[in-house]
């Protein structure tokens, strides 16, 4: 137990410090708006309380965000467009479809790159170079063009999410498939193993650790892609649409709650990836 305390104490301290700074900043930023509500003659505690409970604050206090989040998650029926669960589900669905597409294609492409020299030499440099390109910029065009040829709904958004998460998966998998030492490959060759055997028994298992590292990055990126893809369509549903609507109408609490929800989703996705990794490690007898 003391070990857990020793590990948690610094994190809790930093969190508390952040909380104090946040409440202070919320008071400073909302000060004039609060004065307008309670009057400039009001005593300080009243002003402070008003600054931390405005309807449309410049910076909401943390408890306001938590309360809005809770109201959005539990206070509404799940199918209502006011429910954050509903919007989160729309975004999560998009991200999941895109992520699965990226996982299948990325792993397949990585295998092809590792197995064929032509692809490795001609395609791999482009995969690496594409990391330096702001891919999210194409989101509006993809949505508009695909909408133009009759493809609307989840697919254009999922394509953007998938496009974004495709690259970390591919690069991680290529690195992983190449990770085995020369000496291990040579050993298998002395056993008269075929290329296929080397792949199945050595390269693939060795790549899993790298794959999961890539998957964690990719899952986050898929969510970012899904959220940004919801912006240009003026979508009615999804956390991105929620952000945009909040931005139009100056509903800061709604923006922050959507952001918090997106962060929770990210945590959930990364947690799922970590659980999958742990299951795999357990099945392999404690090693990755």
């Amino acid at each position: 137990m003391p070990d857990a305390v020793r590990r948690a104490a610094p994190i809790v301290t930093v969190l508390l410090a952040l909380g104090v700074v946040w409440y202070g900043a919320a008071f400073a930023l909302n000060h004039s708006a609060a004065l307008a509500v309670v009057g400039s003659a009001a005593p300080l505690p009243v002003v402070v309380r008003a600054a931390w409970s405005l309807g449309r604050p410049l910076l909401p206090a943390p408890h306001q965000i938590v309360l809005t989040l809770i109201a959005g998650v539990f206070g509404e029926s799940v199918t209502s467009p006011r429910s954050l669960v509903y919007h989160a589900a729309v975004t999560a669905e998009t991200a999941a479809v895109g992520f699965l597409l990226a996982l299948v294609l990325g792993v397949a492409l990585a295998v092809a790159i590792v197995q064929t020299r032509v692809l490795d030499r001609s395609l791999m440099p482009w995969v690496i170079a594409s990391q330096t390109i702001p891919v999210l910029a194409i989101a509006p065009m993809v949505v508009v063009v695909l909408g133009n040829i009759g493809l609307t709904g989840i697919l254009p958004k999922a394509l953007i999410a998938g496009w974004l998460s495709f690259f970390p998966i591919t690069t991680a998998m290529v690195t992983g498939l190449r990770a085995p030492d020369r000496i291990a490959v040579d050993l298998l060759r002395t056993y008269d193993a075929s290329r296929r055997d080397v792949f199945v028994k050595l390269r693939w298992p060795a790549a899993m650790g790298f794959l999961f590292a890539g998957v964690k990055v990719a899952a986050t990126l898929a969510l970012v892609g899904a959220i940004v893809a919801e912006l240009p369509t003026g979508a009615q549903a999804g956390l991105g649409a929620r952000l945009l609507a909040g931005s139009y109408y100056g509903q800061t609490l709604q923006i922050w709650a959507a952001l918090a929800m997106a962060s929770l989703l990210t945590l959930l996705a990364v947690g799922a990836a970590e659980t999958a990794q742990r299951v795999l490690v357990a099945r392999r007898g404690g090693r990755l």
């Binding site: 610094p10 952040l18 032509v118 395609l123 949505v143 240009p232 952000l243 997106a262």
Partner: protein
Amino acid sequence: MITTLVLLVSIAAGCAALVWLSARDGRRYAIATPLLFGALLLWCWEVVCIGFRVPPVLLPAPTGIAHAFATHLPMLGADFRQTVVRAVLPGYAIGCISGYLTAIALDRSAFLRRGALPLAGLLGAMPIVGIAPIMVMWFGFDWPSKAAVAAVMTFFPMFVNTLAGLAATGAMERDLMRSYGASYLQTLLKLRLPAALPFVFNALKLNFTLALIGAIVAEFFGTPIVGMGFRISTEAATLNLDVVWAEIALAAITGSLCFGALVLLERAVLFWHPSFQTFVPLRR
């Protein structure tokens, strides 16, 4: 008919050339192969677009995009100035410098480091672009809000990487500095900061793309009528796809050029680091 023929012939010839090139070792071939692959891709794109009369509202041909690029140069220049020079570069600089300095400051206390590192890692993994509407509300429609998004997005990778870099020196090297009677500041300046440089450069390279993405996405939330993100979203809505592609090409060129410049800078600054020394294996 003739289009299909041209397409098939060029694909076959291109693949044969790629196979021939990739079977050869050497630096020149390693560069020529991807270049040929890119050229082949562009060529096929062009042939398909013109031969099959693909409507430009669906997919403009590369020559059409190049034409749009050439004819819209003043507009592209204005967008570049607004997004890259005014928003990305200041945001990038603010985010990177503050991340670097915060890491150095926090590094002195092991307690704070252990508290801040997991939290910063967590926050860095969040969809930070989502703060764009808040920044627009705080700093207005013009470039300051975009720079703010870029700064927040670049802060966390730099912070986490610098902390990791500061921890990268071995106990032996630190003991050596202590035996020289070096003060904290001397150890920091002469040993730990130089040793952290590879990590810092990693963050610098990663961050430029992040800053570009942050600024462009922030422009989707409201902007004066200039800027790359603004242009992309409005021209896409009116189906001027050649202009959109020209903007995307501009963003891609900016991203890769800056990445290339950072790689060159890294090589110039880190020439002494083991990872940049050519390893000559001993032969019996």
